[in-house]
Amino acid sequence: MMKKTITYTFILVLLLTLTGCWSKRETENLAITNAIGVDKINSGGKVMYKLSQVILRPRKLGMSSKSLASGSEQTYEVVESQGQSLEEALQNISAEIPRITFLAHTQVIILGQSVCVKNLNEVLDFLTRVSDIRYRSSIYVTKGNAFEVLLAKPAMESELGKEIFGIGTYGKTQSFEVQEITLKDFSEKIITPGLDAWAPVLEATRSDKLKNENNLKVNGLALFKAEKLGGWLNKTDTQGFILAYGEAKQGSLTVAIADLGQIAYLFNKSKVKISVQINQEKRITADIIVKLSGEVVESGAYPLDDLEDFKLAETRLNQRFEEQIRSAFKQAQESESDILGIGRLVERQDKALWDSIKEQWPKMYAEVAINVKVDSKIIRTGLRNKTFNGKFIK
């Protein structure tokens, strides 16, 4: 018995030493990708995928950041490659980069317009089938080509991916014109009938300064119709949509009230309820009820003396909010993109009806009427009560 135990243990130990360690990757041999961009371009007559990656270059310890002021190119590198499929593009990079590709830290995925118009299915298939990319990566869409956006210089962070990720994460907690969507939600919305996907639009604007660099900016939303690009929302419409979607954490709106002046209102609590009414002739009406509460943070000449003034301000605010939401919804209807999920609400309420109309839903969506009602409350006025109005006259 002892002999057998020793023999077996011997064999096992030998096995361990004979083997290499197959799946092992040393940290210094990795090419850590922080952001990727996907495009479709015409190259030499053939239409190919272009994959651009932002690969980080870890600094050696002890090197101060002053020596890197020459350019933040030092901390990362944008590498591009092409191929007939995304996997092929990924493979082609390994002939250029002396490291192991490591996509697992990708935080941002940028889809160029060329891809969104036609080939979103293939791209999403690649992104979700490959075992490295996180489901939590944020998706952004550009109006041009993704690789051009990746040429921008990050204003504050050291890496491009971190910069974009930061804009999304912190932007959405501060204003309601920026919103993030993760890969999981994006792909889920694309395949669910009765719902459509949207993604924030990233653009690189040319700054007017002497440095002549590109800066990144999130501006508006891209709307999708099934898996194709449907349309765009501009900034105010985005605000309206995000408000109706219920994800606005904080946001401010400036309204001019009659001729008396203007105030800026900052809300930090919002509650949204969307419901669907189906009447006899199978007409569908959506009711959107939004409740906001916040405070006045800036008042330009608008007197805030008594409670009537506040009521007037609230009425004006409600009008503006409702306009935004209506305009957003109208734009979405024109793009046949059901971003608020009205279809899903119909399904939840009356499945039989939904099953009969689900094929024609994109067309029927354009005929959905909405009732919007916004109820914003001003509950505080910050640290001042009366408006700043020059000399104090009793």
Binding site: K3, L16, E26, T27, R59, K60, Q107
Partner: protein, 529 residues
């Protein structure tokens, strides 16, 4: 050739056939003739320069010849002279009547030592003399006496056990003399139920071994089992408790000890009160406590004395350090080579940056640093006290720092290894910490081959092994496996003293209640003026 190698290893492991012990005395009766007896004794103990013998006449009427024999080193000279004085001067009023034989008279009236044994076998007398008694042989009688006037001989003063220091608690520790050790236990448990059973093990060393237990608390089957196992031991010498430990364990080739070893009498007293059995061994301060379990290894004695929130806090801390000591290096290797996606990006970047110029893969680096620290630890035990701490600190710092600067190791590795080394030292039971040090290395290698899966497989193996271990019938991982939730109060956490009214069930099915419903401390009711 491989086959030869494989067959050779088991052969060397097979135990050699037992050789007959060197001195196996048969009975040698005492004869009437004094001269014969003397000759035999002196011949057996020839060439022992500490042997002293002289003839004398017993004082009744100065007519009886007798002969004393003793070993100089072991006998208390003051008590010896006193005894001799009384023997030789005697009591003139006692006469030798015909009814009582001489030796009985002497036994009844003249031998003033408290411990006297009448013997009729010279070889037994020799054994007695070797333990430090005075041998008295009478002319014309077939009975000889052995008078117990052992001295304490020079002993180490009782001081705190060097291997188990506590913050709060008694500071006496066992020493090498078994009588004094017995006294230390007796002073704590003053009950007639505390029994010490004596056995002598080792044909040449004749070491006295005591089995200690509280009758009625300890299971009779446990005591019986212990006796049987000790009687089975046939060896020429027992020098330390470690020899006995290896004989009585259930699974001797396991990495984990199945008996607890301690130098502290308070720990022994607590164990006895819980129904365990203790083995004292002469000439060593380390005693064995049986049965043992794994959770006891993590327990320091002062957990019982300190207030219960702090006791639990230090237990939790010790559990964390156990995990760190066992897993941290392997975890570090696994995460940095297999599972980089788990790390936050910032850490990964700094890790990659730090490792930029290093020549070795993580495994080699970690093994190198680990081995270095093990060497330093081992050297630290043997260094003379004056130089000890300075050399070890400087050694660790210098080696660690120099390694980083020379580009052999990364600071992350040095941190990991240092934390592991410190954590190993916080484990209270020295034996268990050695086991953990040994297990750490295979885990490292497994982790570098298979990542987290390797670590889990290694730990699972250790777990299965621990699950199969028994210490004298008690499962080793009790109360974790099999799960005895009521025992958690004592073993895992330490509930406040007033709620521990039941003894742990692993050993004491005999007498489960310590004391019915103990009162909590409460302020007195009523007036508070």
């Amino acid at each position: 050739m491989l086959k030869k190698l494989i067959t050779k290893i088991p052969q060397t492991l097979k135990s050699k056939t037992k050789e007959p012990p060197v001195w196996s005395p048969a009975k040698q009766s005492v004869t009437n003739n004094l001269k014969d007896n003397m000759d035999y004794l002196q011949q057996e103990l020839a060439n022992c320069c500490d042997l002293v013998s002289r003839p004398l006449k017993i004082g009744l009427d100065n007519s009886t010849e007798a002969f004393i024999i003793y070993l100089d080193d072991l006998v208390d000279s003051f008590a010896l002279e006193k005894t001799l004085q009384l023997l030789m001067q005697g009591n003139q009023s006692i006469t030798n009547t015909i009814e009582k034989p001489l030796h009985k008279v002497i036994y009844d009236h003249l031998l003033t030592a408290a411990q006297v044994k009448p013997l009729d076998d010279l070889n037994t007398l020799i054994q007695e003399i070797l333990t430090g008694t005075l041998g008295l042989v009478l002319d014309g009688e077939t009975v000889c006496f052995s008078l117990g006037i052992k001295s304490g001989s020079e002993n180490r003063p009782i001081e705190e056990a060097p291997s188990e220091a506590v913050i709060r608690g008694p500071r006496d520790g066992f020493i090498e003399n078994i009588r004094i050790n017995r006294g230390l236990i007796r002073r704590r448990i003053k009950s007639p139920k505390l029994k010490f059973e004596k056995m002598t093990i080792g044909t040449l060393t004749q070491t006295q071994v005591n089995i200690v237990y509280i009758e009625g608390l300890a299971l009779a089957s446990l005591i019986q089992e212990m006796k049987q196992r000790l009687e089975r031991i046939k060896i020429d010498g027992i020098i330390e408790s470690g020899y006995i430990e290896e004989f009585i364990e259930d699974t001797p080739y396991s990495l984990f000890p199945q008996t607890m070893v301690t130098e502290r009498p308070d720990r022994v007293a607590i164990a006895l009160l819980n129904g365990r059995v203790v083995v004292l061994i002469d000439t060593t301060p380390f005693v064995l406590i049986v049965p043992a379990s794994f959770t006891r290894m993590l327990e320091g004695v002062d957990d019982n004395y300190v207030r219960f929130p702090f006791a639990n806090f230090s237990r939790v801390l010790r559990l964390i350090t156990l995990n760190i000591a066992l897993i941290l290096p392997a975890f570090y290797i696994a995460i940095s080579t297999f599972h980089q996606e788990m790390l936050p990006t910032k850490i990964l970047i700094s890790l990659a940056g730090v490792r930029e110029g290093l020549p070795f893969p993580v495994l080699v680096e970690t093994l190198f640093m680990e081995t270095t620290f093990e060497i330093i630890t081992e050297a630290g035990i043997r260094l003379p006290r004056a130089v000890g701490s300075a050399v070890s600190i400087v050694g660790a710092l210098v080696i660690g720092d120099a390694a980083v600067n020379a580009g052999f190791a990364s600071p992350a590795t040095v941190i990991v290894v240092a934390m592991t080394a410190i954590s190993t030292l916080t484990i209270p039971a020295v034996e268990a910490s050695r086991s953990i040090r040994l297990i750490r290395f295979p885990l490292l290698i497994l982790a570098s081959a298979f990542g987290f899966l390797g670590i889990v497989i290694g730990l699972l193996f250790v777990l299965i092994h621990l699950c199969s271990l028994r210490s004298f019938g008690v499962p080793y991982l009790d109360p974790l496996a099999p799960l005895h939730l009521t025992d958690f109060k004592e073993n895992i956490f330490r509930a406040p003293r007033w709620s521990l009214s039941k003894r742990p069930t692993e050993v004491s099915e005999n007498n489960p209640t310590r004391q019915p419903v103990m009162p909590k401390g409460k302020p007195p009711k009523g007036n508070e003026e």
